[in-house]
Amino acid sequence: MSDVAEGADEQSDLDLINRWKGGDQRAATLLVERHAGSVARFAASVGAKGDVQDIVQDTFVRAFASIDSFRGDSSLRTWLFTIARRLLLDLRRSERRRGAQVEVQDGDAVTEYDALDSVVADETRQRMHLAMARLSKTQREVFTLRVGEGLSYKEIAAVADTTEGAARVHYHNAMRAIKEFLDE
């Protein structure tokens, strides 16, 4: 595959980054407006709950602070996901060290994931939420990135610290599990 539509988007991400480097604060606003939703969605899909705003804000602060290390080899959005994921893992790790919170295991995923929004009017969407909730954390992360964000396996591998092949397997296993659940 190739990045046609979103490739054009990334070009203007780079333009905005350069404008921001030149002192244009409005460019930072445009970049945050463009990507904050995706980062928030991704953070929620990998376990952020009440701290989504903090995770998203820290992600952008870190990204902008080290923007010169962003070469544009990957898309800005992929890079932001990578930063957000690392922040979230670090946060959860330190929480576990403090004993403040025990990481929710895959088996508990239904309650955790479903609690995000218990009010889903559409019955079809309710079923889809439940199907997502039954996935393992890794399957859900990969599926969210592939289907919700449209990332390639290569991009998913970079974000989720895995291989393209593993990402593909997780995606297809997730797809099979979702189909089976919806067919029940």
């Binding site: 595959m1 407006e33 904050a36 010169d68 929004d117 592939r146 919700g148 189909k179």
Partner: protein, 210 residues
């Protein structure tokens, strides 16, 4: 819901949903989907799932995030000036500690002269800013440095050498400190595009000069 046996096409369906296929690939996938019920069904599911996932986007405060973003600083300049500023601050700190040591040395002298009336020296000897500044905050008569103490100061500072990154440095005298402070001010005033200024280059050699 059945899986289409064409794994290659199935793999591309999410890219079709997100319009990430080039025209040629898209034409091929579209043609396959038009004749494949399984893929049409899976494509519909993917569109629904994508919409479902995107429908649950948590609200974030964009203005708050933007406000937290620091202004951009070019990395080359930052590391260079950062290093120089750090070095300069280290020198100041070293200078400061040498002042403390110096004052400790001269303390017995001033103490022995403390019996003198505060007005004993109507025209105070102009001490170096190093010794004057810390004293200025003290309400005691020691504010007025006495001649013997001030005369001793250079001797003490000449003896004392401070280990500094990659070499040794004598205590800063008045001129050197003033010059160093001017250099630091110049650093702060430099525009971000200014990578290296010859004005700040000679800091190290200058402070090494006794």
């Amino acid at each position: 819901m059945n899986d289409c046996p064409n794994a290659d096409v199935r793999d591309l369906l999410p890219d079709l949903v997100h319009a990430r296929l080039d025209a040629g690939t898209r034409g091929m996938v579209d043609a396959h989907v038009a004749g494949c019920a399984d893929c049409r069904e899976e494509l519909a599911l993917l569109r629904d799932m994508s919409a479902t996932l995107r429908s649950r986007t948590p609200q974030v405060d964009v203005a708050g995030i933007v406000a937290a973003i620091p202004a951009h600083r070019a990395p080359v300049r930052r590391s260079w000036v950062g290093w120089r500023t750090a070095a300069a601050i280290t020198m100041i700190a070293a200078g400061g500690s040498s002042v403390v040591m110096l004052r400790h040395d001269i303390a017995p002298v001033t103490d022995s002269l403390a019996v003198l009336p505060a007005v004993a020296s109507p025209e105070p000897v102009s001490p170096s800013p190093i010794t004057q500044k810390p004293r200025a905050s003290q309400p005691v008569p020691s504010v007025k440095p006495v001649a013997p103490a001030v005369q001793r100061a250079p001797a003490v500072s000449n003896e004392r050498e401070l280990a500094m990154a990659g070499g040794t440095m004598h205590d800063l005298n008045e001129k050197e400190l003033a010059s160093l402070l001017r250099d630091i001010e110049k650093m702060d005033a430099m525009p971000s595009a200014d990578v290296e200024s010859p004005a700040i280059a000679p800091i190290s050699p200058r402070v090494r000069t006794p």
